[in-house]
Symmetry: C2
Subunit: 166 residues, 2 copies
């Protein structure tokens, strides 16, 4: 009898905590992650300021991805990017990473315009590496899913740090 | 026989996809969410620029939380904040929300210094509401867990929008 009462009590407690939490009228949402699908095992900076700070203090290059959730080119690049273990491993161990769906006020991050997807590298000396680009002359920082090898080679370029002028 | 072969094949595919993903040497990580525990059912802006844009375009006030993961005062406030259904409901329906663990470059967001936890309101006209504060004269934008009623009353103040001067 005691056991039954305890079970009922535990059940009621469980129910009240399940129903007690705020729920939007439109139904339960899955919380958005900082990775936004670009690599769930990487530790993503939230803002550009934070990413620059990490880059400087750890002396690691920064990779910034500009993308949009409803852009098929961004989605296609994200798929190969997140599934490429070589990219993910190098980024995890050697880079600071940031992905943004909203532009920053820093014009250096859009050397040839604001388009997505676009990938910029920033040196720990806080210099945007406008010299590291992909293979499209009209959108120098764009990458297609088939450009993974170029991206990897650019990551290696970014790892050769500029001499800090600070 | 066909069925067995198919099962083995499916098993191998499942295994290869489970073991094929990049795994950090330190073990699997749980991806950080944009909410960082301040309300998993709210839709959080990622950056201040993004939050200001949402606030202006939706004509909703913005609530900005500055906090730190390893700060016990931040943690204590987060617990009551995330579990208070009235706060969560009003924020979800009437506000734009942003939480930051790294300071922005905008000095208006630190009228009396950079400390955590600290909560600032911003009007859709992009005016930081330095007039909406808590009950501590030395840290005007700090809230303790017992200050939930003051926070709610301040949220209601913030909902009375300033006249846009734009």
């Amino acid at each position: 009898m005691m056991k039954v009462a305890l079970s009922v009590l535990l059940f009621l407690v469980a129910m009240s905590s399940a129903f007690g939490k705020y729920m939007p009228k439109t139904g339960k949402r899955i919380p958005e992650t900082l990775s936004r699908g670009w690599g769930d095992q990487l530790i993503w900076a939230q803002t550009y300021e934070e990413a620059l700070y990490w880059s400087r203090s750890r002396n690691k290059p920064l990779l910034v991805i500009f993308h949009l959730e409803n852009c098929p080119h961004s989605q296609a690049l994200k798929k190969v990017f997140s599934e490429d273990n070589e990219i993910q491993k190098i980024l995890d161990e050697q880079f600071v990473v940031l992905n943004l769906v909203y532009e920053t006020t820093d014009k250096h991050l859009s050397p040839d315009g604001q388009y997505v997807p676009r990938i910029l590298f920033v040196d720990p000396s806080m210099t945007v590496r406008a010299d590291i680009n992909g293979r499209y002359s009209n959108r120098m920082y764009a990458y297609e899913p088939s450009d993974v090898k170029i991206l990897l080679s650019n990551m290696k370029k970014a790892q050769k740090l500029l001499k800090s002028e600070l």
